[in-house]
Symmetry: C2
Subunit: 340 residues, 2 copies
DNA sequence: CTGAAAGCGCTAACAC
DNA sequence: GTGTTAGCGCTTTCAG
């Protein structure tokens, strides 16, 4: 069972051909007859041959390794799915992921990138765990790179981010369609693209319906449960309180639930709530379930790898693309018609 | 700026020595005078030399890559920290992580492992995202491997898991110390090590205080918020209801909070709650904050890499170890003295 | 259509 | 102490 690792020459010997022919057969190169190609393949299979990627990478200048650089794999709970999407797409391309985490520290990041380059990664996915504007580290210049959940002002770089404004419009459309007209927005205060995008979507959706933007229905707080609760309480204390709340994210929405409880308002009978994140551990756990817009983490992960593969192959369509991905609505039980 | 990649021979030429001397200087081998060693190092630095790991790995049979195989990087939100711990420890050892995700599918897992082996990883961390008993895939026989958040019956394999019983004892000690005597346990129903360990800890803690085990105070439900809520409601409806609840995990604890609300019980005035996970998005968000036992994800990640490094170096202490890591209590506001 | 041979960039015997 | 040299296992011209 513990047989010695078989190499390309053993296969060649067994098949009665040269190593060249074996190499060509397995990697589809050269001009071989289908007959030999198949025969060699089956011999290799029978011998349980597996290539040494170190050797082939060294020679061919293709390691089949993609570097995955991210700011914080862990801290944020959504994180995982972008890695998962990337990893599955990579596997489909016969590539593998080498991951490095900067923990928001550029020295650590540079060391990580250096390690990836020493291992001769074919390209790099430069990822953020939530949508951010970034500047690409200098060490990456000249290396095929795609930005994931991150954008930059460089048009020569492909990137993918969620369509923030669209997400907000989708959320608002759902509320408007249920009949709501006084809709509050529990916004956030960070200086990130989502802040502008979601607020813009909120305003645009209102404008489309000819509903005037009412500043007193809009708050800005830290995007966590406690501050969200306070902000929601303020809106709910208004004489003419909103009948629905659109929340920047699920954590704020959880605060809104708590505020509703404190104000003895029942969801969705007295108050409807929609938010963004579809963070299941919260959205499913809240009572009633929270209707929320999902961010396309998995899909962005896949897209980034596929784009990178296209650019590495540079056959034709390798012009950089900057795209925004649509964000689907996930229905639960937090929206109903407005109270009358 | 786009200068050609410099190799060991350029360094040799620039320093006026042979490639051997350069190799020895940089990797601490051979018998060189400190003078040359330093000189070569600084020349290399000046030339911005960086080794090609593909080449050195091919020759030395050491890729400096560790394979990280896990069942689901993403689905569970705690996940990230074990990867983070592993990745940081690896970086400290000049190693890098190649990650592969099986998504609970053994065919996918086998393909992933095969890819790792083709890339000649030096060893493998076989990780689960929550404590489980596992059987090592056959493909891994003969490869240095350590189990992370997973255990097996093989004594020739190192492994690290949380001390489940200890975690439960810690939680209970906290409640007992606050004066509680009637403590309910909201358990789970999965057949996993945590199920037995935490229940055992609950019983042991009670026994130590001479408190009789009362079956009517123990429930078993799915470990999610909804079922937890129902289970908690049953206990709280008891004539002689418990004054405190120890919960299998934070999601169940969230259910307990909801049940308390429904029963008009205030936490911690009327009911104290402790649980396990310290899943911050919930524990911090709940009102009041949930006192919970943290699982040592980051630490287990580090430990696994360090153990693997020791076994790869096999200098001395390379005997396999199976350890259980302690789980610290994280205080918030959900525990108070029992109502009188 | 197939094979011989020259490296990819580095490490490790073994000489000097 | 330092240098020469033979590969690691594969891919890829270039001949036949």
């Amino acid at each position: 069972m513990m047989s010695k690792r078989v190499g390309i020459r053993e296969v060649a010997a067994a098949a009665g051909v040269s190593v060249t022919t074996v190499s060509h057969s397995l990697s589809g190169g050269g001009q071989l007859s289908d007959a030999t190609r198949e025969r060699v393949k089956s011999v290799a299979e029978g011998l349980n041959y597996a290539p040494n990627r170190l050797a082939s990478g060294l020679r061919s200048k293709r390691s089949q390794i993609i570097g995955f650089v991210s700011d914080e794999i862990s801290t944020t709970p959504y994180a995982g799915n972008v890695l998962l999407g990337a990893q599955e797409a990579a596997a489909a391309n016969d590539q593998v992921l080498m991951v490095v985490n900067s923990n928001r520290n550029s020295k650590v990041e540079d060391r990580g990138i250096e390690a990836l380059l020493q291992h001769r990664v074919d390209g790099i996915i430069y990822a953020r765990m939530y949508h951010q504007a970034v500047e690409l580290p200098a060490a990456l210049s000249g290396i095929p790179t795609v930005l994931l959940d991150a954008s930059s002002d460089r048009t020569d770089l492909s990137s993918v981010v969620p369509d923030e404004e669209g997400a907000a419009r989708t959320a608002m459309a759902h509320l408007l369609q249920a009949g709501h007209r006084r809709i509050g927005y529990l916004g956030n205060i960070d200086d990130i693209p989502a802040t502008r995008g979601r607020l813009a979507g909120y305003r645009a959706a209102l404008a489309e319906q000819g509903i005037a933007y009412d500043e007193s229905l809009v708050t800005a707080s830290e995007s966590m449960t406690g501050p969200g609760r306070d902000a929601a309480s303020r809106l709910l204390a208004l004489a003419d309180r909103p009948t629905a709340l659109f929340c920047f994210n699920d954590r704020i929405a959880m605060g809104a639930y708590q505020a509703a409880h404190l104000a003895s308002l029942e969801i969705p009978r007295d108050l409807s709530i929609v938010s963004i994140d579809n963070f299941e551990v919260l959205a499913d756990a809240l009572l009633p379930g929270l209707t929320s817009i999902a961010l396309p983490h998995y899909e962005m992960g896949r897209w980034a790898i596929e784009r990178l593969a296209a650019e590495l192959a540079d056959d034709a369509d390798s012009a950089p693309q900057q795209i925004q991905m649509p964000c689907p609505l996930v229905l639960r039980q937090s929206v109903g018609p407005p109270p009358r």
